[in-house]
Amino acid sequence: MERAERIGLGLAVIGHVGLFAILSYTLIPREELPRREAVAVTLSDDIGEFATATDRPAPASEERALEDDLEAMVPQEAEPLPQPRVTPTPAPPRTVERRTEPTPRRETPPQRREPAQSRSSRISGITEGIGTTNDTGTSASNAPVSASDRSNLISRIVTAVRPCYNLGSLSGTAAEDIVVRLRIQPSRDGSLSRSQVTVLGARGVNGSNREYQRQMVEAAQSAVLNPRCPLPPLPDALYDNGWSDVVLNFIPAQLT
Amino acid sequence: MIQFSKTAILLTASSALALGACSRSAPEDLPPPPVGTTGPDTTPTYSGPTPGSRADFLANTASDTIFFETDSHDIDPEDRAILDSQAAWLVANPNVRVTIEGHCDERGTREYNLALGERRANAASNYLAARGVSASRMTVISYGKERPIALGSDAASWAQNRRAVTVVPM
């Protein structure tokens, strides 16, 4: 890498960090709403076009077949109220299929590019918000979503979800070696129900944390389904080819 | 494998009862005697140190108590002087049986201190035996850190509590 490229890349990185700081800052008002009160959380109300997910209605028509993993992790449906039992009822038997498919980390090999060009595109993102150039306000299209918009989308989604990634009792245990890979396919109105969440796999499961695998998957699921951490309002124009299909890697391990 | 003679058990039991009769080590909660033996009745009924009594022992020895360093059961020169005076009295009163209590300060764990207290009591007992007191006249008991005499949580209190006490029946 040449010196100019290194400088350019450095500037791009700095600009990006700045971008996310600003984006994060814009989220503050929502995040600082009271979160511990046991009442419904009213979330941003202002962007009519992008419905917030406060109520998270189940999608009307979308009933996809779930992947095997999720299927295996969903408990049996409850039966009608059992008539008085006279003996302890064991838990319904459940077979948990473990698929430890490797979850490739998103690692794009660094490639040469024009620093100035990428910087300018980033700066436009900083000043004008996500998807300005693409957001025509029209109905959905299959127009391609630029890579920078895609990365901005994912960072906003991650920022929204992360405060609800609660390890609870799993924190500080061997469970923290387990990375859960989740796919979410939100509705266009921003809502998300369990049927729109697919478990793609869990990595790092070993003999000392196997008993926590199910709870780690559920911690990731709860993070995306928690009504306190709805998806942020995202541009409708970037739904297709953008935030309609999202993969999240939940990495509990402490960064040092 | 360990074998214990019946006489040893009886001796221990009777010594323990003698100890039980001692208000110093067993305050107000005397347990009922479990076996058909009774402790020696040496209760004095008149004033002045009766020969062979606790008062006599206390009046004619340097002290009934020796003190130890932290986590130690070593007998130092000061302890020796005290134990020598005790040995002399015990030799002069050959019918008196004694109990030697071992104690610890609170800055040890409970079970270790039980063992350490027993070690201290035995250190005193062994010294007295070397000075001519028959081992069969002496019973050791450890109270670990369960019976301090000084109540503070400071070095001075702990020093007072690290002790072995030779107890003569009243």
Binding site: V86, R162, L170, N241, L255 | A13, E118
Partner: protein
């Protein structure tokens, strides 16, 4: 500043996560108009108690029982469950004023949106019913409110007098399902109740449920009693008593209230612990200033000597498979931890840190040994059986005597303040979080957990 996140480290993770996301997107930028899912990393979980709603349990028919009306029992069962879960430290029960009334049909058909409104992540519903057989049935249902899905259910039938046990078992089911850990609420604790000043303290063996209920004294305080331990089968308690001014180990039969001497020796016996199969007791005996470790069959017979060193060997504790014993010895100069085979062979030191190590207790899971570390203060710690991975969990003037919960996740110990004060029982999570005092009627020391009750 950015988010309200509980700890500084969590905030640092967030910042780092943002930086990583920035780097990732910068790297991806050249690949314009990519297709497929967009992908990102959520790095660094937080650790908060889980919000859980435990509304009063309805009854299909309000019936009077010796333990009270079933309608009232439904309320009390819910409260016992709530207290258990809260005391674990991992759950934050929704305040009762926000809870909704639940009727019988709703027990199996929760109103998820309503529970979402009160902020509950999980929901516990159930019912209490008096059976014609003179027994009480408690149905217990656990739901995931976010996912709108049932997670687990179970029913428990108990005698009326044991209604609290049904509640504990329901709480155990919930705890185990949501944490991945083993259960432990439906168990008991034996300990030494202490009262009076330091130099004239009265000590009694006492037992209670893990939540402090059903408290009972087993001895009357005439003799010093120390270091009780529940047998793994829960039938007996082994402890040390100064009865007759002879410090000896006794076995107390819980059902009959009878006690008997473990070993008929003219020496102090102390530091008793059961083997995992309840058939042996490992203990220490002090002979002429030398304490060693022995074991003896509970059914009787001669003790077998396991250690033979001039030092103090004591506080032996079996591994859960019964094959090994961890103990403390000062053979190297100060107290340190050693492991040996159950027959006394292959003794080797496992602790090498500064200060002294004492009172080791092998976890029922087998993976850790809890101990007291002395040096400065007395602190509770854990290490792996090979001595690696040492972690100190508490920090106080004097914490000692660790004892494991049946699930190997929680440790009880006792804490003694400076000066002429009474000790008290505390618990700590094996991660070092959630140090909590256990309420007892008087001072308390030497806690020991029973196994899970049947």
């Amino acid at each position: 500043m950015v988010f309200r996140i509980p700890s500084l480290s969590a905030f640092r993770q967030l910042v780092l996560g943002l930086c990583l996301a920035a780097l990732g997107s910068a790297a991806a930028a050249q690949d314009d108009a990519a297709s497929g899912p967009i992908e990102g990393d959520v790095v660094g979980g937080i650790s908060n108690p889980t919000s859980i709603a435990i509304p009063d349990m309805p009854t299909p028919r309000a019936v009077g029982t010796p333990a009270g009306n079933t309608e009232d029992l439904g309320r009390q069962v819910a409260r016992v469950i709530e207290d258990d879960l809260r005391n674990s430290g991992f759950f934050n029960p929704v305040a009762r004023q926000f809870l909704r009334d639940v009727n019988m049909p709703q027990v199996t058909a929760p109103e998820y949106p309503a529970w979402n409104q009160v902020g509950a992540q999980n929901l516990v519903q159930g019912y209490v019913q008096a059976g014609s057989n003179g027994r009480l049935t408690v149905g217990c249902y656990l739901y995931d409110v976010f996912a709108q899905a049932p997670l687990e259910r179970a029913g428990y039938e108990v005698d009326y007098a044991d209604w609290r046990r049904a509640a504990h078992r329901c709480a155990d089911m919930i705890y185990a399902r949501l944490t991945g850990e083993g259960a432990y609420f439906d168990s008991r604790i034996v300990y030494v109740a202490e009262s009076g000043p330091k130099d004239n303290r009265v000590r009694r063996i006492a037992v209670m449920d893990t939540d402090g209920a059903n408290h009972r004294f087993l001895t009357n305080g005439q003799s010093i009693v120390l270091t009780p331990r529940y047998a793994p089968d829960g039938q007996t308690i082994v402890y040390m008593s100064y009865q007759n001014n002879e410090p000896r180990v006794y076995i107390y039969d819980v059902a009959s209230g009878q006690q008997r001497l473990l070993v008929n020796a003219p020496y102090m016996t102390f530091a008793p612990r059961y083997s995992p199969d309840s058939r042996y007791v490992v203990f220490s005996m002090a002979v002429n200033g030398n304490s060693d470790i022995y074991r003896v069959a509970v059914s009787g017979g001669a003790p077998e000597r396991l250690t033979n060193t001039p030092g103090i060997d004591t506080s032996g504790s079996y591994s859960p498979d019964g094959s090994r014993i961890v103990f403390e010895s000062d053979r190297s100069g100060g107290q340190q931890l050693y492991v040996m085979n159950a027959d006394g062979s292959n003794q080797r030191r496992i602790s090498f840190g500064g200060g002294r190590y004492a009172t080791p207790e092998w976890s029922p899971r087998g993976n850790l040994i809890a101990f007291t570390r002395l040096g400065g203060g007395f602190r509770i710690g854990v290490m792996r059986p090979d001595g690696s991975g040492e972690r100190i969990l508490t920090n106080s003037w004097q914490d000692e005597g660790p004892s494991w919960a049946p699930n190997g996740r929680v440790i009880h110990f006792f804490r003694t303040p400076r000066g002429n004060s009474l000790p008290s029982l505390w618990s700590v999570d094996v991660t070092g979080r959630m140090v909590r005092r256990l309420p007892t009627p008087v001072g308390a020391s030497d806690p020991s957990w029973s196994p899970l009750l049947d």
